[in-house]
């Protein structure tokens, strides 16, 4: 069966660290960075990049639209 591999790119400076993406990630890919961005928010990042399937759940629930999602199908 074809398995999707994905990746997200977070616009770090626009992220407000709300964590809504994190709890909605079905594969526990997303974590919150220890570091903060220019506004002092702990921004979202791929803590477990290998588990991302590119499902876009994080991006569609992100209130600030800071997540871009890529996906490739692998055999």
């Amino acid at each position: 069966m074809a398995k999707a591999r994905g990746a997200i790119v977070v616009d770090i400076e626009r992220c407000k660290g709300c964590q809504v993406c994190m709890v909605n990630c079905p594969t526990d890919t997303i974590g919150m960075a220890v570091e903060v961005n220019g506004k002092g928010y702990h921004y979202a990042y791929m803590e477990n990049p290998e588990s991302c399937t590119g499902c876009t759940n994080c991006a569609v629930v992100c209130p600030d639209g800071v997540i871009t999602v890529y996906r490739v199908k692998q055999n």
Partner: protein, 257 residues
């Protein structure tokens, strides 16, 4: 990862119909998601050059800074009247209002009900977070019984303050409303459903069938004094039982309520 994040693998990006301005909303607030969904639908329908928004007073007062379509600001509660004026003169354009619960269900009740009753061919996006967010968390017409706010500090007392009311069910009774639904944007599933509802509403406007009205039950983590995720859980547990999800009126016929 580099081999994945290539243009040809792109499956989701923020719509270019959202401007580059940083959203003025609190972290985790549903407003940003709702803005984005509306703009995604406008983009997908290819109607940016025919779309006019009407911004409310409240947290979304600066909605026009974020959505890249022509906009008119309205006085508190008057958006449906302003939209009526625009739509009557541009009957072929897409006109929507974007209003909060204080704006739409308190100070603007008359304008809401009469625009709905006339069946103006506009779309009303109603964001219900049960509180006046912008002014600092005062009690709204939709604040739940017992819910604390800065003007119901001991909890809403239905006896003395009146109970919350469901204006969405109320306007669904009016013959001018064609599509009335209640949605949410706190999880991926509801977001996708909400987007379909927005698409349906704007398609109805295109066909000039009457008013389409979408309530979004949303969070106000600052006003409710919770973390964003806690507020979403609280919303499911407390708001959804009183403001149940789903369609209320479809194709001009009541399906619920």
């Amino acid at each position: 990862m580099k081999e994945i994040t290539r243009e040809e693998n792109l499956v989701y990006r923020r719509t270019p119909l959202m401007t580059d301005a940083t959203l003025s909303y609190c972290p985790g607030c549903g407003h940003g998601t709702i803005h984005r969904l509306i703009m995604e639908v406008v983009e997908e329908m290819g109607i940016q050059s025919e779309t006019i928004g009407v911004a409310p007073v409240g947290c979304a007062v600066l909605a026009y800074d974020f959505m890249d379509v022509d906009f008119s600001q309205a006085a508190h509660g008057r958006a449906p009247a302003v939209a009526t004026g625009i739509k009557r003169l541009w009957p072929d354009k897409f006109v929507f209002t974007y209003q909060g619960d204080g704006d739409l269900a308190a100070i603007g009740t008359a304008e809401t009900i009469h625009a709905c009753n006339r069946g103006e061919n506009i779309t009303i996006f109603f964001v219900n977070n049960g509180i006046y967010g912008m002014t600092g968390g005062q009690m709204a017409p939709t604040t739940l019984e017992g819910m604390k706010s800065s003007t119901s500090p001991y909890g809403r007392n239905n006896e003395t303050m009146g109970p919350p009311y469901k204006i969405t069910e109320l306007i669904a009774q009016l013959s001018g409303t064609y599509y009335v639904t209640r949605q949410a944007v706190h999880k991926p599933g509801p977001v996708r459903k909400a987007k379909k509802a927005i698409r349906k509403a704007l398609e109805i406007q295109k066909e000039k069938k009457g008013i389409s009205f979408i309530e979004f039950v949303s969070n106000c983590n600052s006003g409710w004094k919770m973390t964003p995720n806690d507020s979403n859980i609280w919303m499911e547990e407390h708001m959804f039982p009183f403001y149940p999800m789903g369609d209320i009126k479809v194709d001009g016929k009541l399906v619920k309520g």
